[in-house]
Symmetry: C2
Subunit: 109 residues, 2 copies
Amino acid sequence: MESIYEKCPFMTTQRVLQGKWAIVVLYQLSTGTKRFNELEKLMPEVTRAVLTRQLRQLEDDKLINRKVYAEVPPRVEYSLSPLGDKFKKILDEIEIFGLEYINELKITK
Amino acid sequence: MESIYEKCPFMTTQRVLQGKWAIVVLYQLSTGTKRFNELEKLMPEVTRAVLTRQLRQLEDDKLINRKVYAEVPPRVEYSLSPLGDKFKKILDEIEIFGLEYINELKITK
DNA sequence: CAGGATCCCCCTGGATACTG
DNA sequence: CAGTATCCAGGGGGATCCTG
């Protein structure tokens, strides 16, 4: 890890958000705990392998929790960590901005 | 452009934030209009070519304005567009989150 | 059900050299 | 001063196939 990441809150957040599906996954989990295949259904554009990698990445970055139940068939639940919970504020603003952005460009173009 | 980008505010914002230096550039411009070489000095880790590309990308995405003055030596000023201005709210939350993130991981690790 | 293991390919960041 | 023009290498996304 480099020094700029440790000092600058913007670079730090940027690093966490690099994954193409990071924001959407965090959003999905912000509405509640989800199982793996629930996330799959909510995000049909993402393949399994990619979704798994994105989840691992967010887990490594301490934004989400992964809970495995020792059952058959297996059950795995993903949820926001305490740190991930603090990300919700960003998500709220992203949603507002995103909608405005979509609207604005619809008019302009 | 694909349909999911046009509909989902999270995907839309994600696309805009893909560039490695997007957030930092937006932050720098959120504190006021800057010339190209000011940005260079504020972000020494980024090379010229890369910074230029990032600026063009944000310009294409309508988040920043590029104003060229017909002078010698040339002067180019970058600033937030009206749309970019709306991004400030996200930046505020990113800063808060980033600082909390840095703090938390310092303690945990 | 929830993945793991590979492979491939493209895109993007970065380095370097040149310019109106 | 504020870029362009190339080139290169690495990594991440995506597809496909396999598994406890």
